[in-house]
């Protein structure tokens, strides 16, 4: 079984996601609207999404190798015609150190491999360096939107960027070249020793 899998969000996942929406780091890094919403209201919203909102929003559950729920991802601003969507994700606190990157990677792969999305929009508030350092964020950002939001007592700047199919292909080719270079170097070293 792969390290991380993506499955459709179901009604049974609603309580766990509701709890996550109210968690402090989530509110700081994404939004704090859940603070002002009742549980029932949040649950109704999620239920509507999975029952009839497929065209505009989709929710997914990220699972570890034993099938345990590790976090959630969701896509909004879906433009089916242009094969574009905005990806958001949130990992449960206890899995953040080990699973964060894998969860993001698995969500991206699912969107490209199965839903046939070509362009994925990322939005990260600039103080949030859980996945990318401040320097990496700067390098990626195509748009920096100041005063985008005010979460947990602070003004936030949002960074937006897209990842296209060509970007992914380029990154994979670079990684492959780097692996090849290391292998060549190791081989050359071994031959030099013998």
């Amino acid at each position: 079984m792969p390290f991380m899998t993506v499955r459709h969000f179901t009604e049974a996942d609603i309580p766990v996601r509701t709890e996550l929406l109210r968690e402090n780091k989530y509110q700081t890094n994404l939004n704090d609207f859940a603070m002002s919403a009742a549980d029932l209201e949040l649950a109704d919203g999620m239920r509507r999404t999975i029952e009839s909102g497929h065209h505009v929003k989709r929710l997914f559950t990220m699972c570890g190798s034993k099938g345990q729920v590790v976090g959630f991802s969701w896509i909004t601003s879906i433009d089916w015609r242009s094969q574009t969507c905005e990806l958001s994700f949130a990992v449960l606190p206890r899995y953040r150190s080990g699973f964060g990157f894998k969860a993001v990677e698995a969500a991206h792969e699912y969107l490209r491999e199965q839903l046939h999305m070509d362009v994925i929009i990322n939005q990260v508030l600039s103080h949030n360096t859980m996945m990318l350092s401040a320097a990496e964020l700067d390098a990626h950002a195509q748009i920096r939107a100041e005063y985008d939001s005010y979460t947990v007592g602070q003004w936030r700047t949002a960074c937006y960027w897209t990842v296209t199919r060509d970007d992914v292909r380029g990154r994979k080719q670079r990684e492959q070249a780097r692996r090849q270079e290391i292998a060549d170097r190791v081989r050359a070293g071994v031959q030099g020793l013998s």
Binding site: N31, V119, E146, Y147, Y150, T162, T164
Partner: protein, 164 residues
């Protein structure tokens, strides 16, 4: 009638009485209000694009465009604006309509950030935004397919430093 004279602006929330005038706007192939392909959109889809935030914009009493202002974030006073005038409206009309909309939207409420986006293929929208004194925040690449090619959108904003 279209002149370069500044018209007398008025607006009202969209209602069924405006349906024919609005559908007529969407027969223009570059009436990019919430779509990159206005003239190919069916009636149901156009009516869905026109939500409760949408207002018709009238120049000297005649419908010449649409605008909508939406709240983007709780408590941040961050709003986004969509604005479109019909093809025959001169650039000066865009500037004067936008000026009046700014006045109207900051008249009785705090606005910290007002954001506008225009697609890279929307020459008229971009020309307006670049001459309106807005901050250009960058281009989100490749998000929309238009006539077989990918284009990004350019993000613009006006910021009023918050009072708290």
């Amino acid at each position: 009638m279209t002149t370069t004279e500044t018209p007398r602006w008025s607006s009202r929330p969209y209602s069924d009485a405006d349906r024919d005038a609005v559908l007529a706007l969407y027969t223009e192939p570059d009436f990019y209000f919430r779509t990159g392909d206005p003239d190919t959109r069916p009636e149901w889809e156009i009516l869905e694009l026109i939500d409760e935030d949408t207002h018709v914009l009238l120049a000297d009493g005649e419908v010449v465009g649409l605008y909508a202002v939406e709240s983007e974030a709780n408590n941040a006073c961050h709003y986004s604006m969509q604005l479109r005038l019909r093809a025959s409206a001169p650039p000066a009309w865009w500037q004067s309509a936008f000026g009046e909309l700014l006045r109207a939207n900051t008249w009785r409420r705090e606005v910290v950030r007002l954001a506008l986006r225009f697609d890279e293929f929307d020459y008229r929208g971009l020309a307006f935004a670049r001459s309106a004194g807005l901050r250009e925040e960058g281009t989100l690449g490749a998000v929309t397919v238009h006539e077989g090619r990918r284009h990004g959108y350019v993000s613009f904003a006006r910021i009023w430093e918050p009072i708290s």
